[in-house]
Amino acid sequence: MLNHIQEKFKAAIFEGKDEAFIAEIEEGGKIDPKQRLFIYAHAYKSRLVETLADDFPVLHSLVGDDMFEEICLDYIDKYPSTSTPLRYFGQHMAKYLQDTKPYSEIIPAIEMAKFEWTFNDVFDAPDKVAVSESDVGAVPPEAWTTLRIHLQPSFFMNEYKWNTPAVWSTVSDEQDDKPMMPQEYPVASNCIQWKADLKCFFRSVPDDEAAVLKLAAQSKSFPEICEQLIDIYEGQATMRAAELFKGWVMEGLVSRLEYLKV
């Protein structure tokens, strides 16, 4: 029965329950059934470990070879791959670390998993032509009250309690093999990641900008964005909003301007 054989094969390579499957394997030849199965079981684990190592190079440097291997092997057991393309396999890593002792206490590791995985999402997101400064110039003054700014589909914003993005850049810049020591921020800080012209970018954002980026990501209107800034900037709120908006355009963060043609 084909299904029984496949169930046994799966139990052998996914769970290491190999006896029932070994009995299905033809004997003879230079290697025995156990070794034949081992080739598949080994390939299964090493392919997945390699995938995780590709996706999380800085997490790997942070925790070191031994702990990274332990993490990978346990992750493979807890989150067997359910996706067709292999590249989604690592998608639960941050959650896994958060839920699993002792990693749940290593906040910089959890944050690094989140930061590195976000770049995968950024990388694969749809590419939309960025709005240019002349597109902004073409918005009639009377239309600004209805203007909605649409951010790139590759835009992601996450909050970090540690200096995770800075640690990441010391390794990815290849200035040094060892990451800098993670440090806890006095207060949590937001970091955005996005893609422009097929290149991935990231930067930290001040709190007021994070608050209005949240509104922009929800397609709130420009007046609503200005209103968010009134508490801090009072009469200068519109100017601050315009300044931030201009910065986003220059960075290729804006994919569409929507407004009512009056």
Binding site: G28, R36, T84, A125
Partner: protein
């Protein structure tokens, strides 16, 4: 199946399209007749992969090669995957689409490996039926590739060459004939690769794969990280003498050398192919 039968095309000599070579292919128009893409790598919304594929497909014929169809699995066919495959097909307009004679996933869990099947009537019926369904869904014949394997089953009662030949006839599908895989499996399971080649109907073989591997003495692992070995070149020559010219390509998935090196290796296939005409 309703789709029209097309005469076997001959695309010439191609390579697997790899990220490392994108820029060079676009800037220097290298003498490669066509490219094969791994379909799953382009099932994305955006990014560098699709950007380069869109440009390369303007210059070269493309064939699509998948690793996730899991045609031999006892799970239901993965319709989400087939939808993605069809979407990519309409973007790429490939010469043809292929996948492997194997199973990869079960119970929704993916091994991301090409796992072997027992060769018997039950599997034959199961796989042929599923190939027909896939061909109906895509509205075209697909190519099925012989995978290399490291074990065989007590439940098998036929040879791989009889099995794949009968599937091709039963499902009316085409074949992607991997000469290296036949060498690897022949070594691992102690059969004569020529007996395999002799049994295959040349009409069904639309594409040939060549690749290198890692010989561990007692067994061979199909690693695709070395140049093609002499014995496999000899089997290739034997194959095309029997079958006539077949669209041929070199698969390299690891330790990817500069494009020039692969082109030089591919020229060897071209020479043998032209000699066999």
């Amino acid at each position: 199946m309703n789709s029209k039968k097309i005469k076997k095309p001959f695309l010439g000599y191609g390579l697997g399209l790899r990220t490392d070579h994108y820029e060079e292919i676009l800037s220097s128009d290298p003498p490669i007749d066509w490219f094969e893409i791994i379909s799953e790598n382009y099932m994305v919304e955006g990014g560098r992969q699709l950007y380069h594929l869109d440009r390369i497909k303007e210059k070269y014929p493309i064939v699509m090669h998948g690793v996730s169809l899991s045609i031999g699995s006892t799970d239901p066919l993965n319709m989400d995957y087939l939808k993605e495959l069809k979407k990519l097909e309409s973007r790429v307009n490939p010469e043809w689409i292929s996948d492997h004679l194997c199973w990869t996933s079960l119970g929704g869990h993916n091994s991301h490996d090409l796992l072997p099947l027992p060769y018997n009537q039950e599997t034959l019926k199961h796989v042929s039926e599923r190939i027909k369904q896939v061909q109906d869904y895509l509205g075209r014949q697909i190519l099925i590739e012989n995978a290399s394997s490291y074990l065989t089953y007590k439940a098998s009662d036929m040879t791989e060459w009889d099995f794949i030949s009968e599937i091709a006839d039963e499902a009316d599908c085409l074949l992607l004939f991997d000469v290296n895989n036949i060498y690897v499996s022949g070594f691992n399971h102690n059969f004569d690769p020529k007996e395999y080649i002799d049994r295959i109907n040349p009409e069904r073989v639309w594409q040939i794969h060549l690749a290198g591997h890692e010989n561990n003495g007692d067994y061979i692992i199909d690693t695709h990280d070395h140049p093609v070995i002499d014995e496999v070149w000899q089997l290739y020559q034997y194959t095309i003498e029997k079958m006539g010219p077949v669209s041929t390509m070199i698969e390299r998935d690891d330790h990817i050398p500069p494009l020039d090196e692969l082109i030089t290796e591919l020229e060897k296939a071209r020479k043998l192919g032209e000699g066999a005409c």
